[in-house]
């Protein structure tokens, strides 16, 4: 049996006593690409900031995060630093604010090389050039001496990716890496992430609210809502047949570039405040399929016969549980656009 690269078990996070993450279980195999999707405030980023010990002191984190079987949660700094940036690297949405504006990009990349790989001087510079070349910065030899403001947004993100690759990580966590970029540049960066993964064999976590972008990069996706995973499966299964009404809602809300121009199908309401979570299923107040039991009983995340994980009393789509008819089914389903 192949051991997983990273295993999250019961990861919980609370800020000032308010629980925002309610126990995340997630396995990442070597080389695998997993998408985390959901609206802002659902805990996608917090999951990874918590796992890597990047949350501020007021956050209470519990559970377990194992990298190759080694526990890293609540470990002393030197253990964490052997993992952070080295085994698991992370890139963020706004590349220009993640780079140091007063240091040349070459210096920032060689710093990472010195820390994680013990490379110095000419060897570090040569490696930095190779990395910049790899992420598609043209004329790297000259541009290694430039400051971050001399690069465009898309190129800053490439530089960030080069820095992330400096430690030769086994897992790259990309937190909304293309959200701030133009469509054409977004396509380039997605392409780059796919190519790098093929080249280096590193696993990728792709955090995004753009389901289109997620399906370009990943094989599997977790849909998160209000600090919990509500559906998890292969991209194909989720797209062809979303079972959780929230997953379905996210797909339906995307405007289309082809077909007839119809009214968009929004998800009514907003993500609940973690201080004030509704009783039962957290999605039930916004759900068009909610029945009485949804308001009282929290659905557990269970595996279904088609190999996905689902947490819903009354799933939409095909394959309803045999012999069970529930009130939601009697209603007219919204037409798929």
């Amino acid at each position: 049996m192949v051991k997983n690269l990273v295993e999250l078990r019961g990861l919980k996070v609370a800020f000032d006593g308010v629980q925002v993450l309610h126990g995340i279980d997630l396995d990442i195999a070597r080389g695998e690409a997993i998408g985390l999707v959901g609206e802002s405030g659902c805990g996608k980023s917090v999951t990874w900031l918590a796992a890597l010990g990047l949350l501020p002191g007021k956050a209470t984190v519990s559970g377990s995060v194992r990298v190759d079987g080694q526990e890293i949660l609540a470990q002393p700094r030197h253990v964490l630093e052997g993992v952070r940036g080295k085994r698991i690297a992370m890139i963020f949405q706004d590349p220009s604010s993640s780079l140091n504006p007063v240091l040349r990009v070459g210096r920032q990349i060689t710093e990472a090389l010195a820390i994680h790989r013990g490379l110095h001087g000419e060897a570090a510079k040569a490696e930095a050039l190779r990395l910049l070349d790899m992420v598609g910065i043209p004329d790297a030899r000259r541009r290694i001496e430039l400051f971050p403001h001399e690069f465009s947004g898309g190129q800053c993100q490439r530089v960030m990716i080069a820095m992330a690759l400096a430690g030769e990580p086994d897992l790259l966590v990309a937190d909304e890496p293309t959200t701030a970029l133009d469509a054409t540049i977004q396509a380039q960066i997605l392409d780059l992430l796919i190519a790098l993964r093929a080249e280096t064999g590193m696993a990728t976590i792709f955090i995004s609210h753009d389901l289109g972008a997620v399906s370009q990069v990943c094989e599997r996706a977790c849909v998160m809502y209000a600090g919990r995973i509500v559906e998890q499966g292969t991209i194909q299964a989720l797209f062809d047949n979303p079972r959780h009404p929230y997953t379905r809602g996210l797909f339906d809300a995307i405007p289309r570039l082809d077909g007839p121009r119809e009214r968009l199908i929004p998800i009514p309401g907003t993500v609940p405040n973690p201080r004030d979570l509704p009783e039962g299923c957290a999605f039930s107040p916004r759900c068009s399929h909610a029945a009485i039991d949804c308001r009282t009983r929290m659905p557990a995340l269970h595996s279904t016969d088609d190999g996905r994980l689902l947490s819903c009393h009354h799933p939409v789509g095909s394959h309803p549980p045999i012999g069970v008819t529930h009130p939601a089914e009697a209603r007219v389903l919204e037409p798929l656009s």
Binding site: G153, L250, L257, R261, P266, T270
Partner: protein, 332 residues
């Protein structure tokens, strides 16, 4: 009634806007043409979408249409009359009829005023509603954009992103404008909330017969809301057509690349045209067709001669040597 005989609500004729950019503190100032000769028309009640990458001049164009950024050449006409000078009483009076919605609602709202006070401000500034009736009108506007009456006393930071954008839109609608210029109004919102706001804008527009200029880099949203779409590249319109046509059969290679770069949910990257390179610097505009360094079809003529925006079909224009040549040979 034939559209051709009506006066456009707003018309731009050869708009040019140049900024001076210095290289370093003591460098020589070089002129940058952010908007470089734009002609367009928006009919009453119509929505024109403007798409393009950052730096293509779409936001500057939006500001010029409202007279906030005065053009150096050309002019903007509102209901057939030239736009009055910025900050004159005539311009201020006209501003009640044309409103602006920005991308970042938190920056557009005053964080020390409740949203009801802010929505009521235009009523006071333009003296539109007598004071005793203002509260009723504010309540009416709030319900029109889907804000609850109990949210009237809230401050901007107490609202979610979607609710803030609703408040900004309510404030823009307060003076019953004929034109709304929206600059990336839903780009900062989640897709679920984005759909709520887009539907709301469409409804409000239909009900109040407002014309809209909708600036966005998100082609999917633009297609959904706009009747016509203009694609901008480095300060110029390179293609314009109805939104159904332009995304289905894009003609200009740049529009083709934009359409192709939109990720389709559930489909893998295959056979997509991924545009190489970055948008060029407007301060260093390539010769001939500005798009030629990134264009897969570029020929010698593209490097030397600037293509004009020509009519290629009914209600459809494009500025590309390759497209207009192909169309001409089909016609011949």
């Amino acid at each position: 009634m034939n559209e051709h005989f009506k006066t456009p609500l707003i018309e731009a004729k050869g708009l040019v806007r140049t900024y001076e950019v210095r290289q370093g503190m003591f460098g020589r100032a070089t002129p940058v043409r952010a908007v470089d000769g734009i002609d367009l028309k928006v009919m009453p009640g119509e929505t024109l979408g403007i798409v393009g990458e950052s730096g293509s001049g779409k936001s500057t164009l939006g500001r010029m249409l409202l007279g906030i950024d005065p053009p150096q050449e050309g002019q903007a006409l509102f209901e057939g009359k030239p736009m009055p000078k910025l900050a004159t009483p005539e311009w201020r009076a006209l501003r009640a009829k044309m409103q602006f919605v920005y991308q970042d609602p938190l920056a557009a709202l005053d964080r020390r005023l409740t949203i009801a006070e802010q929505i009521g401000e235009p009523l006071a500034i333009h003296n539109l509603v007598p004071k005793p009736h203002r509260e009723t009108r504010v309540a009416e506007l709030m319900s029109a954009v889907g804000l609850r009456p109990d949210q009237a006393g809230r401050y901007p930071h107490e609202l979610s992103g979607g609710q803030r954008q609703r408040a900004v839109i309510a404030r823009a609608l307060a003076s019953r404008p004929k034109l709304l210029v929206c600059d990336e109004p839903v780009s900062a919102l989640d897709v679920s909330i984005q759909a709520q706001v887009v539907n709301m804008l469409r409804d409000l527009q239909e009900k109040n017969h407002i014309a809209m200029v909708f600036i966005s880099h998100d082609l999917k949203v633009v297609r959904n809301i706009a009747d016509r779409v203009a694609v901008m590249y480095l300060g110029r319109i390179v293609e314009e057509a109805s939104s159904d046509v332009i995304f289905k059969t894009p003609l200009h290679p740049y529009t083709k690349a934009l359409v192709s770069s939109v990720p389709v949910p559930g489909k893998l990257l295959q056979g997509r045209v991924i545009l190489q390179g970055e948008p060029p610097n407007p301060a260093n505009r390539p010769s001939g067709c500005a798009f030629h360094p990134r264009c897969p079809l570029a020929a010698d003529i593209c490097r030397t001669s600037v293509p004009q925006l020509l009519s290629v079909a009914d209600g459809r224009t494009a500025a590309c040597h390759m497209v207009t040549r192909a169309e001409a040979s089909v016609a011949a």
